[in-house]
């Protein structure tokens, strides 16, 4: 019996394991190692309307138990995605989720409209961690008002479920989560990368061409878990948790913290079989602990009060 079946934003998933956007290409790249249809869902690399070349210079740096990247959202654009890539991945039976990005609210709306028309895409992951060029370069997700606004505008142009992906580089992640919930998000995904940097002391310059990059991997797990724990108690929509998951135990920590589903990112680079190992490990965990379904441990460490309140609200 499959004890991992999960309903998430209206999608029936075989399991709650997704791939983190940007860490699994467009679903085809790891097919030599395992069948992507084994996943609960495939979240593809961040898309923009126009193709983007991304950043100049070095894009990857390793840090203690983590890595930095400053890809700069290189992607082939929504046209190519729709016309070429979707054809290449049409055999994948798991739902495809599109991660969408923009530099202005208008760009977000445009790409959301495009995605709305693509049947093969079952949900939208709205990435609000990108710098907002119009409003001074701070990320959409760093300003509660703007985060709410972009969620609302995208909500108006799509009927697909919207998973808003939050930036952890904020003082009050709970506030942002609540605002996107109030503006129509069907779920929140967290965390995106922590802003960091690394320095090449021999060359006397930043390692990354862009100076700053996003930190991911095991190093960020404690921060991710904390935010999942906080946010999942504060909102009544499901939470897609991620940040440093690299073992079955890590995955269980996220469920207990309150994640309804999880995404795997950097951990796949280290171990390409990670998604399958976690899937099998979770199934075994359920069997050994007499859980009918993995959802039984979701949020199980929340204080009793929070659990009660949430039950009432979502009832």
């Amino acid at each position: 019996m499959n004890r991992l079946k999960t309903s998430f934003v209206g999608l029936d998933l075989n399991n709650p394991i997704m791939t983190a956007s940007g860490c699994f290409g467009f679903g085809r790249e790891y097919k030599d190692y395992f069948d992507p249809s084994e996943l609960g869902a495939v979240v593809v690399k961040g898309l923009t309307n126009e193709p983007r070349d991304g950043n100049y210079g070095t894009r990857i740096a390793e840090t203690p138990a983590g890595m930095l990247n400053c890809v700069g959202l290189e992607n082939p654009g929504i046209d190519y995605f729709e016309n070429v890539i979707l054809e290449e991945i049409k055999d994948i039976t798991s739902p495809i989720i599109a991660n969408i990005n923009g530099k202005t609210v208008e760009e977000y709306i445009e790409i959301a409209k495009r995605v709305e028309k693509i049947d093969a895409v079952k949900a939208i992951e709205l990435n609000i961690s990108c710098p907002n060029v119009k409003d001074g370069g701070m990320a959409f997700g760093a300003n509660p008002e703007v985060a709410g606004k972009v969620t609302k505008m995208v909500r108006e142009v799509t009927t697909k479920p919207i998973i808003v992906k939050l930036s952890p580089n904020v003082t009050d992640i709970v506030g942002i989560a609540k605002i996107v919930e109030a503006n129509g998000a069907d779920a929140v995904a967290l965390i995106n990368t922590l802003l960091g940097m690394a320095i090449d002391i021999k060359k006397k310059k930043p390692v990354l061409g862009n100076i700053f990059g996003g930190l991911s991997g095991p190093a960020v797990k404690p921060v991710a878990l904390r935010m999942v724990y906080q946010v999942s108690q504060a909102v009544n929509i499901p939470v897609l948790g991620m940040g440093g998951i690299s073992s079955v135990e890590d995955a269980i920590e996220f469920f207990m913290a309150g994640a309804n589903a999880i995404s795997l990112g950097t951990g796949i680079f280290t171990n390409p079989m990670l998604p399958v190992e976690i899937k099998e490990g979770l199934q075994k965990y359920c069997e050994e602990n007499n859980l009918e379904n993995i959802s039984e441990i979701v949020g199980c460490i929340h204080p009793p009060k929070a659990v009660e309140e949430k039950k009432e609200k979502t009832a």
Binding site: Y30, N55, G57, F269
Partner: protein, 264 residues
């Protein structure tokens, strides 16, 4: 592409900062081609990224892969500390490799230092049906010691300090060769600057040139978009579209660092 826990058969110091590792890898040894590479996992979990290391040699019959590597930082230092019998996890073969489908051609291979790594198997393969000349350069005797491991005859050794072979550099030797005779194809791997000079020399002489590039990699399989370079055909991934490219295809060999956006 496979993911294999492989046993180390031998892991020995060669010279300068170079080591040679042999592993038994039944599946990969049959599949691997010259110019491809492997992503090798570190044992110390503080290092989450695998290290890209070229295929030095593959012996399908005996199921043996060879890696020739330089100790640069902590990851390669860790590799150097591994013993016969230890296990490591390798992912590959990855990338496209060199064009080895040619016949009856006159080719030159130019390797500098660690760039000798992918050229052993290449020289062997090309040697079967082509006339191959090999220029091997390095700082000193230790840096070219590896050529003793090569099964080719026509080899010109060049060192910076003249401690063995010609004193000078590979590009000078290449220019000499091209001045004296005509060739169909040049293959090169080595320090960035050397490859540029080789590519430039080839271009001047109207000879096609294949180069093996390096970029920092996270996934090795085109999934992270970390290793992009600008080519005439748009952004390409060194890991999957390369690491071998026709030199003329590359548009921006030395992209200037310039802040873009901090997006992933």
């Amino acid at each position: 592409m496979y993911l294999e826990d492989v046993k180390i058969l031998e892991n020995r110091y060669v010279g300068d900062k170079y080591y040679l590792m042999k592993v038994r890898a039944p599946k990969a040894a049959k599949a691997a081609k010259a110019g491809q590479f492997f992503m090798i996992k570190c044992k110390n979990d503080v290092r989450v990224l695998r290290r890209p290391i070229s295929l030095h040699h593959a012996d399908a019959d005996n199921e043996v892969l060879e890696f020739y590597y330089e100790t640069v930082g902590k990851g390669t230092a860790e590799f150097a500390g591994l013993q016969t019998g230890d296990e490591i996890n390798i992912q590959g073969p990855l990338g496209t490799g060199f064009d080895t489908g040619i016949e009856g051609k006159k080719v030159i291979l130019v390797g500098g230092g660690m760039g000798m790594a992918p050229l052993k198997l290449l020289a062997e393969k090309l040697g079967e049906k082509n006339s191959v000349r090999f220029i091997a350069g390095g700082r000193d005797a230790g840096a070219v010691e590896i050529v003793k491991n090569f099964n080719i005859d026509e080899i010109t050794v060049v060192t910076d300090d003249g401690s063995v072979g010609v004193k000078g550099n590979t590009v000078e030797v290449l220019k000499d060769m091209l001045a004296k005779d005509s060739y169909d194809l040049i293959y090169t791997c080595g320090p960035h600057g050397m490859m540029l000079a080789v590519a430039d020399t080839a271009y001047q002489s109207g000879v096609r040139c294949q180069i093996s590039l390096e970029e920092r990699m996270a996934c090795g399989v085109k999934a992270c978009v970390g290793c992009s370079i600008k080519t005439k055909a748009g952004m390409k991934k060194v890991c999957a579209d390369g690491p071998v490219f026709d030199a003329e295809e590359i548009l921006d060999f030395d992209p200037a660092d310039k802040p873009g956006c901090s997006c992933n």
